[in-house]
């Protein structure tokens, strides 16, 4: 499997316990900074309806969809109950020289 590391933004561009939307080559991702200052990335759209998760609320390790409050663990992609039942895909993330990169396979 080949992965491309793609630069997302400066590490400081994402607040702690927050999320931003990142669009790249026709795909959309959500990139997170956890309360303990780690970075994560998932697909950008909720698996229930096509809603951008980056408009939602991050609480601890949960992202909540802004439309119907579907919840996922953004570290693992796991769906946390109705109305979502399909997990989110996650992507590797690294921080180098103050920038956030995600690996898009």
């Amino acid at each position: 499997m080949s992965s491309n590391w793609v630069e997302v933004c400066a590490a400081d561009d994402i607040d702690e316990e927050d999320v931003i939307r990142f669009d790249h080559q026709g795909r959309t991702f959500a990139v997170y900074r956890s309360p303990d200052d780690e970075y994560f990335a998932t697909d950008g759209l909720c698996t229930h309806e096509q809603i951008h998760l980056a408009d939602g609320l991050v609480m601890d390790d949960i992202i909540e969809c802004p439309k119907h409050n579907g919840r996922f663990n953004y570290k693992t992609g796991q769906a946390k109950g109705a109305p979502v039942c399909v997990n989110l895909r996650t992507y590797p993330v690294k921080v180098e020289a103050g920038s956030v990169f995600i690996a898009i396979s």
Binding site: G56, L57, K67, H68, P83
Partner: protein, 407 residues
């Protein structure tokens, strides 16, 4: 083996059935609905579901009911609850024994009295209703919508998207007068006006008529509006007939306590059909017609059907989509004394409603897409925490609401 029977196969009944299994209930579950479909989501019926004339958006596929061992009976109304011997009787005579019963019977559209029963006069509640309305919406057609609530306005936006001309008739002085602040209703009305919807407020309707080819709204002052189709969206009334006939307490809906239990200890009710005491608002009795409430009560009532005895403590939450605008409301604003506005840019804003003691009791927002969603969600949490946030902080978009929550 314990048998839990759920009457009403909508969002709430289906959610409760799955939540029972998620909590480890191992007995029998039977879900009974009067429509021919498996449970589906109703919110799309006035929006993209109508525009696309799609099949219903199912809450879950048949295989998930099978995997969760939920027996689903569709297309059969329940006609009788026999409480002494603990069974329900279906149309056609079949009886089903229960140990615990959940009534999630929903609501039905309020009927306009001076209204003929005709093909071209419609109401919107079911997938079948949506298809019938969709068939008459096209460029060159005209629809008259009676009622300026969420259903009427969402339908107006969808009809415009499909190219039909729209006249919307509201009896009160403005649209969305129930539960939506005037400032936000004005944004909605202005947008409809720009999209070409004619809105007539303060109208007194004398009658609605139709023949095979046309429909007409007649006003008390002698005027009228001709259209290809009239859709009446003037609110909903809870489906309580079977519960009332069984002697359950009814109070603007099937009356339940804070654990969603009816006046019969083995029978619970949840969703649009029930009225319940609202914890965060001094226990005042309300009935909510909302998707989220159906979900939340369905989840909680599952726990209580299994004996958890937990109070329902959610904050009411509603949304509406019209064009690219989304409106969201958390809480109930009617006892507000002060309102604080927070502008989020691109025309989006939120109104925070505080009571006489400075407690946040509601927040209403509107904007494009999900512009207001995150702050409304945080407001909901502030309301639940009975917080008294500093009004200056609420009005300043630089102050993160999350910080107020932590304070």
């Amino acid at each position: 083996m314990t048998h839990i029977v759920i009457v009403g196969a909508g969002e709430c009944g289906a959610r409760a059935a799955f939540a029972l299994r998620e909590r480890g209930f191992d007995g029998e579950i039977t879900l009974i609905g009067s429509e021919p479909h498996l449970p589906y989501e109703r919110p799309p019926l006035s929006k993209e579901g109508l525009a696309g004339a799609e099949p219903p958006k199912y809450v879950a596929g048949a295989e998930r009911y099978q995997a969760a061992r939920i027996s689903v009976i569709t297309d059969v109304p329940v006609e009788v609850i026999e409480r002494k011997r603990k069974f329900v009787k279906l149309a056609g005579g079949r009886a089903i024994q229960y140990d615990r019963l959940l009534l999630a019977t929903g609501a039905r559209p309020r009927v306009f009295e001076a209204c003929e029963n005709a093909e071209r006069i419609r109401m919107l509640r079911t997938h079948a209703d949506a298809l019938a309305i969709r068939a008459l919406l096209a460029p060159g057609r005209k629809v008259a919508i009676v009622g300026g609530g969420f259903i009427g306005l969402e339908l107006a936006a969808t009809a415009r998207r499909l190219g039909a001309a729209v006249v919307l008739v509201e009896g009160l002085p403005r649209v969305l007068s129930r539960g939506v602040p005037e400032e936000i209703a004005a944004v909605v009305a202005e947008r409809h006006w720009r999209e070409g919807v004619e809105i007539v407020c303060g109208a007194r309707i004398a009658a609605i008529e139709a023949d095979d080819n046309a429909a007409r709204v007649l006003f008390a002052d002698g005027g009228s509006v001709d259209a290809d189709l009239v859709v009446v969206g003037i609110g909903a009334i809870p489906n309580t007939d079977v519960a009332a006939a069984a002697g359950l307490l009814i109070e603007n809906g099937i009356a339940v306590d804070e654990t969603l239990r009816t006046s019969d200890p083995d029978i619970f009710a949840a969703g649009d059909c029930c009225s319940f005491p609202l914890t965060h608002y001094g226990g005042r009795r309300v009935r909510l017609e909302a998707w989220r409430n159906a979900q939340d009560q369905g989840t909680l009532v599952a726990a209580n059907l299994m004996g958890a005895n937990e109070p329902f403590a959610s904050v009411p939450w509603f949304w509406s989509d019209q064009y690219d605008l989304t409106l969201q409301i958390a809480g109930l604003a009617d006892n507000a004394e002060t309102t604080v506005r927070r502008d989020l840019g691109d025309g989006a804003f939120i109104l925070f409603h505080l009571d006489g003691e400075g407690r946040l009791i509601a927040a209403s927002g509107i904007g494009r897409g999900n512009a207001v969603a995150r702050d409304i969600r945080l407001a909901e949490m502030l309301i639940a925490a009975r917080s008294r946030p500093d009004p200056a902080a609420l009005s300043s978009p630089e102050t993160k609401l999350k910080k107020l929550l932590a304070a």
